[in-house]
Amino acid sequence: MEHYTMSLTLKVWKQQNSQDKGRFETYQVKDISSEMSFLEMFDVLNEQLIREGKDPIAFDHDCREGICGTCSMYIDGRPHGPWHANTTCQLHMRAYKDGDTIVVEPWRANAFPVIKDLVVDRSAFDRIIQAGGYISVNTGNAVDANALPVDKDKADASFAAAACIGCGACVAACKNSSALLFVGAKVSHLALLPQGDPERKNRVLNMVAQMDREGFGACTATGACEAVCPKEISLSNISRLNKEYLAAGLEK
C-alpha cells in the first residue's frame, strides 16, 4: 500500500447548542496522511483550531473500532461515509485524494435533535428499548443454559439481528427518518429466541408505539437503511417486525 499525504477542504456543520440555528463552516487541513482514520483527521483539525484560538468541532466518538455505535457523521451525503458496512471511526483517509472537499453534517431527524455541532441526542433509542426491548428475567431466576436447545439457524439469525450497534445511521439515511430497522432488529433478535416468546406480542406493540411517540417516520422500504448499516442488518428484520406487529395487533 502506497501512503500519501493530502490537503482537504472541509465543510462542517457548526451549531453552538440545541437552540442555535447553526451554519456550515469551511476549514482547510494539510498534511493528512492516507493512513489516518477519518476521526484522526478531525483530531488534527481540532488541535489546529485550538492552537489558533478557535472553537474545535464537537463530535461523538468512543471505541474507534466500529462496535460501540457512538460515532455519527453524515459524510458527503452518506451516514458513516463512502465505505460499505463501515462506521465513521473505521473510515480511513485513503478513501480520499488530495484536493477533495468533504461535507460533514450531523444525523438529521427530529427525533435526534442536535446537541452541538455534529453531536446529536439519540436517547430516543434508549426509550424504545425501555418500552420492551428486553426479556423480563430477574437475576438469579435462570434455568441451566442448556436446558432449552435453540435451533442453530434461528440462533444465528437472532445474533445477526442483535449485532445492531444502535448508531442511528438507518434513521439518518432514511428519507422518512424511520427507526424501523433499529426496532426491527431488536424485535427480531428477541422474537427468534424461545426465551423471548412469552413477551413477544407486548414487546412489538409497545416498542412501535414508543417509536411513533418519538417522532420517527414510517417505513417505505427503500432499503437506504440497509445499504448504510455498518453491521449489515437486513431489511428482512423490518418485514419480520411487521409480521410480529400484525400477529400481535390483530390478536391482542
Partner: protein, 657 residues
C-alpha cells in the same frame, strides 16, 4: 491494617458461608435505600439492574450518550465459565486454579474461587436474557478453547461476545428504568465522591451537555468505571475510558492497589504514525493458526515475500518449543518487543512483527483437497481452498485488518505489535468489594481483585458480570442493613457544598490557565513516558526518571494547558482535561508501584528480575502481597501490604519452554 474480610472456613465453602450469614435488608427498607452506580459497562449495568430488581432506588451514571456504549462492548473473544458442557474435565476448581496461576499468584484466592463458582450462573442468566451465544447444530451452546487453556470453557458470540453480553445487561437495565427502579443519567461524569462522617454518601457529577455540576445522594456508591489503560495514551481502550472516578475516590481515601499491573496484548495492529489516536486489538485466536516471525537480518527492508524461509526467525517457536505461538499474552508481547528493540522489527516504523497465515492456508488447503477427493492438486487450488477455510474462521478479523491498514492479509503477512489492553490494578476492595472508604464499592476492571498480575483471556467479561449480577446483590446488603436508619441526606449538606466547590474550583482553575498547549499534546507526552519507562519492561532507573518527568509534566500541564470554550456548555476539551489531569497523577503512582515491586510477575516485568535466559522471575519471598497505596499528599503515598496466602493453589514458577 487492611482487612480483606475473607470468610473463615475451607476455600470452597467461603462464599456459601458468607451468603448464609450476611445481613439482609427487608423489602420495605430497600425502597428507602438509594444506591449510586457510576459506569454502565458489564459490571455497572448488571449491578444497576440487579439492585433495581431487588427494590433499591438506583441512580446510574455514564459519560457516554447511552449505557450501551460502554467499552465492555468491544470485547471480542468470549467469556469463561466452569460449565463443563464439553465433558473435558473442567470444574470450578480448575477455573479457579487456572485464573490464579495465570495471574502469576498475585490474586486473592477467596475472590477468585468465588468468581469461578458463580461463572456458571452468568451463562444461565445471559442465555435467559436472550444473549445469542454460538450454538451447535443440536441447539446446545458451543464452546471454544481460548488463551492456551487445556479445556474448552469459553462461550462466545462470534467475535462480538462483549457486545452481546453488554446489550443483555443494558436491556435489563433499561427494563428497570422503565419500571422506575433505576434512574439513568447519560452524558454525566462523576467528578467527586462526597464523604460524610467517614462514609461515602454521594457524588458530584458534571452534566456534559450543559456543563452544570449536580449533587446526588446515595446510601452507597458503586464505582464500575473501568480500567485506566488510556494513561498510556495509545491503548485498545475507547477514547473516553478514564480513571477519573476511581482517582477521585482514591483522593477521598480509597486505596489504589497494584496500579503497575498492566496487560499488554500481543496481537494488535501497529502504530502507523504520530496521528494515531488508538490501537485496535485483533483477537488472540489469530495465534492459533498464524505463525509469528521477523527477518533473521537486522533492518531487513525486503518485502516479506522476498525473504526466504531460511532467513526468517520464528522466534516464539524457537524460544518456547512447547507452546510456540501460543505462549501467554505477556510472554508473547515481551518477545516481540525484544526482537524489535534488537533491530529486527518490520514495516515502516520497525515496531512490528509478522503474523503469517501462508502456512495455515497451505495446510488447510491440503486438508480440503484430500477431504473433497479432488484430482486437482495444483498450488492454486490448494491456496484457493485454504483461503476459503481461513476466511470462514477469521474472516471478520482479516476484514478489520484490511480496513485499517489497506493491506490484504490473505496475500501479505499481517504486521502486529503489542498494545496496552487491560489493567489488572485498580481500587483496593475487600471480599465484599468495598474499598477502604465505607459505603464505597468498586467493581469490574476498576477494582484490582481477581486477575492478579495477568488476566487470562475471556475472564474480564466473567469478572464484570460476576461482580454485578452475583456478588454485589449479596454483599451490599451486608452494609446497607445497618443503614436503614439513615435518612436520605439532603444535598445542601456542607459536605456536598464543599465537594462541589472543590470540583468547581478545579474546573475554573483549568479553564483559567489559558496556556498554549493542547490537552491532547499533554496526554500524548504522558503516554510516551509511560510506554517507554513503565511499559512492557521496566527498570529502577527508568522508573525514577519517569516519576521526575511526570512531575514536571504535571507542573507544565497546570500552567500551560489551553482549553477552549466555556464551562457551562458541552465542552469535550474540558472533559478531556479533567481526565488527563487525573491520568498524570495516576502515572506517577504506577511508576512508584512498579519501582517498589522489584520482581517480575505477570504483566509486570522488571529487568532486574529475570532468569539468565531473559525470562520473568517472580519473587514470592519478598513480594507475595497486594500493594495498596494510600494518598497522603501531593506526590506522597503510603504503601499498605495485604499479604497473599495460598492455602490451596501453591505457587509455582510458570514455564512455557
Amino acid at each position: 491494617m487492611l482487612n480483606s474480610k475473607i470468610p473463615a472456613g475451607p476455600l470452597d465453602q467461603k462464599w456459601t458461608e458468607f451468603k448464609g450469614h450476611c445481613k439482609l435488608v427487608n423489602p420495605a427498607n430497600k425502597r428507602k435505600l438509594e444506591v449510586i452506580i457510576v459506569g454502565t459497562g458489564l459490571a455497572g449495568a448488571s449491578a444497576a439492574s440487579s439492585l433495581g430488581e431487588l427494590g433499591y432506588k438506583v441512580k446510574a451514571f455514564c459519560f457516554q450518550d447511552s449505557p450501551r456504549r460502554a467499552h465492555s462492548i468491544a470485547a471480542q473473544g468470549g467469556i469463561n465459565a466452569a460449565k463443563n458442557y464439553q465433558n473435558d474435565g473442567d470444574s470450578v476448581f480448575r477455573l479457579f486454579y487456572d485464573t490464579i496461576k495465570g495471574g502469576d499468584y498475585r490474586a486473592r484466592e477467596a475472590n477468585v474461587h468465588r468468581l469461578a463458582e458463580v461463572s456458571a450462573n452468568i451463562i444461565d442468566q445471559c442465555v435467559a436474557q436472550g444473549v445469542p451465544f454460538a450454538r451447535e447444530y443440536g441447539g446446545l451452546l458451543s464452546n471454544r478453547s481460548f488463551g492456551g487453556t487445556q479445556v474448552q470453557r469459553t462461550f462466545y458470540a462470534a467475535g462480538q461476545t462483549g457486545q452481546q453480553l453488554l446489550i443483555g445487561a443494558y436491556q435489563s437495565l433499561e427494563r428497570q428504568v422503565a419500571l422506575g427502579n433505576v434512574t439513568m443519567y447519560n452524558r454525566h461524569e462523576m467528578l467527586d465522591v462526597v464523604v460524610i462522617d467517614g462514609k461515602a454518601r454521594g457524588i458530584i457529577v458534571r452534566n456534559l451537555v450543559t456543563g452544570k455540576l449536580e449533587r446526588h445522594f446515595g446510601h452507597a456508591v458503586l464505582l464500575c468505571s473501568g480500567g485506566y489503560g488510556n494513561v498510556f495514551y495509545l491503548s485498545t481502550n475507547a477514547m473516553g475510558c478514564n480513571v477519573t472516578a476511581a482517582w477521585k475516590a482514591h483522593r477521598k481515601g480509597a486505596y489504589f492497589a497494584n496500579p503497575c499491573f498492566t496487560q499488554i496484548h500481543p496481537t494488535c495492529i501497529p502504530v502507523s504514525g504520530d496521528h494515531q489516536s488508538k490501537l485496535t486489538l485483533m483477537s488472540e485466536s489469530l495465534r492459533n493458526d498464524g505463525r509469528i516471525w521477523v527477518p533473521k537480518k537486522q533492518n531487513d527492508n525486503r518485502k516479506p515475500s522476498d525473504i526466504p524461509e531460511t532467513e526468517r526467525d520464528y522466534y516464539l517457536e524457537r524460544r518456547y518449543p512447547a507452546f510456540g505461538n501460543l505462549v501467554p499474552r505477556d510472554v508473547a508481547s515481551r518477545a516481540a518487543k525484544e526482537r524489535c528493540d534488537a533491530g529486527y522489527g518490520v514495516g515502516t516504523s520497525k515496531q512490528a512483527v509478522y503474523l503469517d497465515y501462508a502456512d495455515a492456508i497451505q495446510r488447510y488447503g491440503e486438508i480440503e483437497v484430500s477431504k473433497r477427493n479432488l484430482q486437482d492438486h495444483s498450488a492454486e487450488t490448494i491456496t484457493r481452498l485454504g483461503k476459503e477455510v481461513v476466511k470462514e474462521k477469521y474472516g471478520n478479523l482479516f476484514d478489520m485488518y484490511e480496513k485499517i491498514t489497506g493491506e490484504n492479509p490473505y496475500e501479505l503477512p499481517m504486521r502486529i505489535y503489542p498494545a496496552v489492553h487491560y489493567t489488572m490494578g485498580g481500587l483496593w476492595v475487600d471480599y465484599e468489594l468495598m474499598t477502604t472508604v465505607p459505603g464505597l464499592y468498586c467493581m469490574g476492571e476498576a477494582n484490582f481483585s481477581d486477575h492478579g498480575a495477568n488476566r487470562l483471556g475471556a475472564s474480564a467479561l466473567m469478572q464484570g458480570l460476576a461482580d454485578g449480577y452475583f456478588v454485589i446483590p449479596y454483599t451490599i446488603g451486608n452494609y446497607l442493613a445497618d443503614e436503614i436508619r439513615t435518612n436520605a441526606i439532603p444535598t445542601n449538606h456542607p459536605a456536598f457544598d464543599e465537594a462541589e466547590k472543590s470540583v468547581s474550583d478545579t474546573i475554573s482553575r483549568l479553564m483559567n490557565i489559558k496556556g498554549k498547549q493542547t490537552v491532547e499534546s499533554f496526554h500524548k507526552r504522558l503516554g510516551k513516558i509511560m510506554w517507554d519507562k513503565c511499559g512492557m519492561a521496566r527498570n529502577a532507573q527508568g522508573l525514577q526518571q519517569a516519576i521526575q518527568e511526570i512531575r514536571e509534566l504535571k507542573k507544565e500541564f497546570w500552567s500551560d494547558v489551553r482549553i477552549p470554550g466555556a464551562i457551562n456548555e458541552m465542552n469535550p476539551e474540558l472533559d478531556k482535561a479533567n481526565r488527563v489531569a487525573d491520568f498524570i497523577e495516576l502515572g506517577e503512582l504506577m511508576c512508584l508501584d512498579a519501582l517498589n515491586r522489584n520482581e517480575s510477575c505477570g504483566g509486570h516485568f522488571r529487568e532486574e528480575s529475570q532468569t539468565e535466559e531473559g525470562e520473568a522471575k517472580r519473587d514470592d519471598a519478598e513480594y507475595s502481597y497486594v500493594s495498596a497505596w494510600e494518598l497522603k499528599s501531593e506526590h506522597e503515598w503510603q504503601l499498605h501490604k495485604e499479604d497473599l496466602v495460598f492455602e490451596v493453589a501453591k505457587p509455582s514458577q510458570r514455564s512455557y519452554k
